[in-house]
Subunit: 191 residues, 2 copies
């Protein structure tokens, strides 16, 4: 998506530790008109795939997942990062390692929302080493449902999480794939 | 909003401890067509108020806040519950007590996203004792911006957080106000 690349180049900020800060339009502050276009773009990429549900993990993937759900007119589910009083009954859970925070967390979804017949599109804002998506895949397949594919706003191609998933046969679509990111702020994209 | 009341009556579930579980359509699994209607309803309630930004706290308010932002065509900001590597530079922060989890947490927003000229609409999924909204009000007013009002999907009227805010002069609009909630599952609404 050309607009995503332009936004990254003009409004993104490279911070030490290979962090790409896009807080002004994607993460923390969200440009809602752009959010709507992102949702439509993802919906058009996966049109005709029989998607029945969109799944993400709280919290920064929720806005784009909601936009995709609205564009596809299917329910959106978000996995919670800790079991809370609002997740009751039988749950699906999986442990995910967070690269950003350097710790493990448990992602949880009520089992009643992921059913064997579901065809699930995974959505997230960032795809780096792929740990979050791999966790969501375990949850979906553990429920006997089908992973149709994954859509991310920004993929850090140099961390290869997306490539690992593609090698395993999953369809992964990213609105922009950052191939290199230098400390001087230079960003290049995968063609 | 009549549809919200009907959804609560038909799809909501009363759990011990005055918890209203609406995970099947609002919180955890979100009906995206309904989400779009909620956003439009809130946008129409605050039309003409000069709203420049929508503000919520992660994570269950993000979807409805994004929908409101899309309907109003203004940016949406979400406060994070812990300072992370993605929130850098000068921040606005405030300590909020969570009734659900029985602890305190710090809500954080990059100072660059809330500016003195902003007219901010606060949005959340639930309004109970009002602690979260009061925290957001402190952040907005601490930034020298103006609170236009607050919009919530479901207000627990019997916990009086909304009434306290109204008494202080804030405009608070809830799509449904639950007046009573019994352990046998009976729910009544404020007219």
């Amino acid at each position: 998506m050309e607009e995503m690349k332009q936004r990254i180049l003009t409004q993104g900020e490279v911070l030490p530790g290979h962090i790409l800060k896009v807080g002004s339009f994607l993460n923390q502050q969200i440009d809602c008109a752009f959010l709507e276009r992102m949702g439509r773009e993802v919906a058009s990429l996966f049109a005709g795939c029989g998607v029945t549900k969109v799944l993400t993990i709280e919290s920064s993937g929720i806005a784009i997942a909601a936009s995709v759900g609205m564009a596809m007119n299917v329910p959106m589910i978000f996995a919670k990062k800790h079991q809370t009083s609002n997740v009751s009954g039988r749950v699906l859970s999986t442990v995910i390692h967070s690269y950003t925070h350097g710790n493990d967390y448990t992602a949880v979804v009520s089992a009643e929302y992921l059913l064997p017949g579901d065809r699930v599109l995974l959505v997230d804002d960032f795809l780096a080493n792929g740990n979050a998506l791999e966790g969501l895949i375990r949850m979906v397949e553990g429920a006997g449902a089908t992973v149709v594919g994954a859509a991310c706003a920004i993929e850090k191609g140099f961390q290869h999480g997306g490539d690992k998933l593609r090698e395993r046969g999953y369809r992964v679509e990213s609105l922009a794939i950052v191939e290199t990111m230098e400390d001087d702020g230079t960003v290049t994209f995968r063609p």
